[in-house]
């Protein structure tokens, strides 16, 4: 009796285990012919070479009865009959994307090989290495077949130069020039990187095969601003076209940190607040000198007991000044120091010729001390020697200006400015020609904040030494921080200190996808990842589009991909908010040229096609030499298709049997009086 129950229980236990793991029986179908996918590139760059070549490929492959696909930037299954009718109209070539798709979506067919027929002109920006590496692990060789060119002219052309989207001064970068060569195999060619006519770097390349070769250059821009460079290859004998031996490109070089030189005539609260604000800004590198003692001051100790250092007039005004982006003169009376006319001329040149900036503040010393000096020509105001000690509120004339814009909403901004605390003391002045008064004294109407563009540079003038009251006298001290930050930003015209910045390339080709990056930071330049980003784009026909933008990383980076289907100028505006607090905005624009990527480069990229073949253990052929026999495609009989699977465990009778067994076991136990 006990033995019977034990057997019954063991059977139930085994049945339950089987129900849990559900083993299956697979029935395999054995195959003898390999399964091959043929990928035919029908992008526009194949236009000149397609018709005969498509048929040639078909003819040579038909014996193995492959599965055909056509592709440009999308992959589509076609029948063998459609190959003859194929026209090369695809707008982009995405070989990498197609291999990735074959890997992910067609693996059910357990491919034995892929035959890739293309000119190798990958023009959708993707990282090839990773995809090819992943593909090579699948043990599926890619047989690369390139078409025979109609035109096989001897030529060297610079077809593409890749540069990073954001470039900073004194920070090294690598740019890559893609150079196509035909008819120069075995030769050594020189490539130069130039800035205007100065050769910055030269490289020599041994040409191993026809097609594209990537040449990297290391560059460290020493100046900020828009700088034009060029990549050049000398003209070699027999070249059919020499106009494509030179390609220009521009880099918008941002200063890595804004270098500020702050000279202050005497210690003051204004100095304390301004220095502290600049010092706390991570985007600013500050060097400041404040005059702590004048010759008339008597200190009853030796110099060694004082912390004073000599004021290096000659060094600053002859050499060092040119290493800075912004000069601040605060209550600074140049006539008390051995500052000569040439030094003042250097300040003028620093602004007007070198395109740098000046922030000048009057305090105890009226700005009229600069009368009849080169600095006077820079001032946006005509100052009088008079300083009146009136108490006044600021009347803001241009609240929408980047310097004074504290919030995106116009009425809120006006409200904030109206509620700003009183200031005191003003250097009487009138507005100079071509200058803009941003704020004046509400009481006396004298200009208080004035700006002007002088030559290549910018100047800002503040005629009161009590601007610090915007911090101490205000409910929100950050308004002062913002005004100062925005002033520095405007003066130096720098994107790197903006709280909200759009990074975009300056030009694209039609049908490209623009990948735009937006960086959002708070007042302390800490990245904000949960900001609301309002992204508006004006397309070439003038229509405005609103685009949804989402955070991409934890570090305050937001991104948007935009399909560029029409040529012309695109304007972008981005405003960012942290809850309801306005963080800032940025504008940018780029041009889309009506030149498709396909027509930009019609040469065959043998090197890329060889690389794919080599890394996947495949073979490389030109279409005329292509022979399916030489391709070494073998069917993997071990990995045959699953014909069908037997799974008895999802059948209803099995559950019935289990219930019956349980019932029997229960019955026997009851009968034995074990319950």
């Amino acid at each position: 009796m006990k033995r019977r129950e034990n057997i019954l229980r063991a059977v139930i236990f085994i049945l339950i285990i089987f129900l849990i793991i559900q083993p299956k029986k697979k029935i395999y179908r054995q195959r003898n012919t390999p399964t091959v996918a043929v990928l035919i590139d029908d992008s526009q760059s194949m236009q000149n070479i397609s018709k005969n070549n498509f048929s040639k490929v078909k003819k040579k492959i038909m014996p193995i009865n492959p599965v055909f696909f056509k592709f440009s930037n999308e992959l589509k299954n076609i029948s063998a009959n459609e190959i003859g009718k194929l026209t090369a109209k695809g707008l982009r070539t995405d070989i990498i994307g197609v291999l990735e798709k074959i890997n992910k979506e067609f693996l059910g067919k357990v491919l034995d090989a892929v035959i890739l027929f293309s000119d190798g002109n990958q023009n959708v920006e993707k990282s090839a290495d990773e995809v090819i590496k992943e593909f090579s692990k699948l043990d599926i060789p890619v047989i690369s077949v390139v078409p025979q060119t109609v035109l096989s002219q001897k030529n060297i052309s610079i077809c593409k130069i890749d540069v990073p989207d954001v470039v900073f001064r004194n920070v090294g970068l690598v740019l890559s020039a893609k150079i196509n060569t035909y008819g120069f195999v075995g030769k050594k060619i020189s490539i130069f990187l130039k800035s205007e006519e100065t050769v910055l770097q030269s490289k020599s390349v041994n040409i191993i095969s026809n097609g594209a070769v990537e040449v990297p250059f290391d560059l460290k821009p020493e100046k900020a601003g828009v700088i034009t460079y060029s990549i050049e290859v000398p003209t070699y004998s027999g070249e059919q076209n020499i106009s494509d031996n030179r390609k220009k490109f521009t880099l918008n070089v941002e200063p890595e940190k804004i270098r500020v030189l702050y000279l202050c005539g005497q210690p003051s609260f204004n100095y304390s607040f301004l220095r502290n604000t600049l010092k706390n800004d991570p985007n600013i590198e500050l060097v400041s000198f404040v005059i702590l003692r004048n010759p008339e001051n008597i200190v009853p100790v030796s110099d060694s007991e004082l912390s004073l250092i000599p004021f290096p007039v000659e060094d600053i005004f002859s050499k060092e000044i040119f290493n800075f982006d912004l000069l601040i003169l605060d209550n600074f009376n140049y006539s008390r120091f051995p500052i000569n006319y040439q030094h003042l001329t250097n300040i003028k040149n620093f602004i007007t010729v070198n395109g740098k900036s000046l922030f000048i503040i009057s305090g105890e010393i009226p700005l009229s001390v600069y009368q009849n000096t080169p600095v006077a020509e820079l001032l946006p105001v005509i100052p009088l020697p008079e300083i009146i000690s009136e108490k006044f509120r600021l009347a803001v004339l241009s609240p929408e200006h980047g310097i004074l814009k504290l919030t995106d909403d116009e009425s809120s901004n006006n409200y904030i400015w109206k509620g700003m605390p009183f200031l005191a003391g003003i250097n009487v002045s009138s507005v100079a020609e071509k200058s803009v008064v941003l704020a004046k004294s509400e009481k006396s109407n004298y200009p208080v904040i004035t700006i002007a563009e002088k030559g290549k540079g910018r100047v800002m003038c503040i005629t009161t030494s009590s601007l610090w009251r915007l911090a101490l006298g205000s409910e929100n001290p950050y308004n002062y921080v913002r005004v100062i930050g925005q002033s520095v930003k405007w003066l130096t015209n720098a994107a790197s200190i903006k709280q909200v910045v759009i990074f975009a390339k300056k030009s694209y080709n039609i049908n490209d996808t623009a990948t735009l990056k937006i960086h959002v930071k708070d007042e302390y330049f800490k990245p904000i990842s949960n900001a609301f980003v309002n992204f508006e784009m004006t397309v070439p026909d003038g229509k405005k589009e609103r685009i949804e933008v989402f955070p991409e990383t934890e570090s305050g980076e937001y991104g948007a991909n935009i399909e560029l289907n029409s040529s012309g100028e695109y304007k972008i505006y981005v405003g960012a908010y942290d809850k309801k607090r306005f963080l800032g905005s940025d504008k940018n624009s780029f041009t889309v040229f009506n030149i498709s990527r396909e027509s930009e480069d019609t040469n065959i990229n043998e090197q890329f096609m060889k690389e794919i073949a080599d890394k996947t253990a495949g073979k490389f052929f030109a279409v005329d030499n292509f022979n399916i026999e030489k391709s070494d495609i073998k069917s993997k009989t071990k990995k045959s298709d699953v014909l069908y699977e037997i799974n008895i465990w999802d059948k209803t009778p099995l559950y019935l049997i289990l219930i019956i067994l349980f019932a029997m076991e229960w019955f026997f136990r009851r009968k034995s009086g074990l319950l």
Binding site: F269, V290, E305, L306, S466
Partner: protein, 244 residues
């Protein structure tokens, strides 16, 4: 119009004119503001007169000669980013609203220098001040200011702190950002400046110690006006060679 209304208007007009006048004097000058509170708030009433004289003589700082006496609720408090609190005995606790005003003052860039004139450890003033500072700056409590801090080299190169008495060989401070926004001395720093009408020092003190305390006072004012300027890289080699 009633007599009381006229009186009210005149009083307000006078107050407005006086405060307006004070603001007008300010310009870019240093203002010595001292807090008046319910306690012995002014044990060293003539210190600023002497400090002001010495400051103008030895440095390029331009200051307003009259000290500005303010209460916490005065708007004038926010016209001076440097506030002095002195005392020698305990005082009534500040109300929550008053504490909020002081917090705002410090957060908006103001600096407070506190001097315990009693010159005694654990004095009533010390207890009241520590209680107040704990409320103002709970996140950045009082800590010892190291002798390497910019405060000790903002004008004179000092190797130690001084005062009328040396209660502590250090000052304490609450560091907000990169500088100390609250500085606390228990050494009766202002006591070394006090003179009678005949020009004699009121409080006896070793002359060398008195001189060091005077230099320290100037350094604190310079620190309020220049912050950590003397910690800038450009000064370091000069200061290092001078200290040798």
């Amino acid at each position: 119009m009633k007599k009381s209304s006229i009186w009210f208007l005149l009083t307000h007009l006078l107050t407005y004119s006086l405060t307006h006048c004070l603001y007008c004097q300010q310009g870019g000058k240093f203002v010595f503001a001292q807090l008046k509170y319910s306690g012995n708030w002014d044990p060293r009433p003539s210190a600023w007169d002497r400090i002001s004289e010495f400051l103008t003589m030895s440095t390029s700082v331009k200051s307003i000669q009259e000290r500005r006496i303010v209460t916490i609720s005065d708007d004038e408090l926010f016209w001076s980013p440097f506030l002095v609190i002195t005392g020698d005995s305990d005082f009534a606790k500040f109300s929550d609203d008053e504490i909020k005003i002081i917090i705002r003052y410090v957060q908006c860039g103001g600096m407070i220098f506190i001097d315990d004139s009693s010159g005694k450890k654990g004095s009533g003033f010390d207890k009241s001040i520590r209680d107040m500072v704990n409320k103002i700056s709970p996140e950045n409590p009082l800590e010892r200011i190291p002798i390497t801090d910019a405060m000790l080299k903002s004008f004179y190169l000092l190797l130690e702190v001084s005062g009328r008495v040396i209660t502590n060989r250090y000052f304490e401070g609450c560091k907000i950002g990169e500088r100390y926004s609250i500085i606390y001395s228990q050494n009766d720093l202002f006591g070394v400046w006090e003179k009678d009408n005949l020009g004699n020092y009121i409080y006896p003190c070793d002359e060398k110690q008195r001189w060091e305390a005077k230099k320290m006072t100037i350094n604190i004012i310079m620190y309020a006006l220049t912050g950590t300027y003397k910690s800038d890289t450009i000064h370091l080699p000069f200061i290092k060679s001078k200290l040798k």
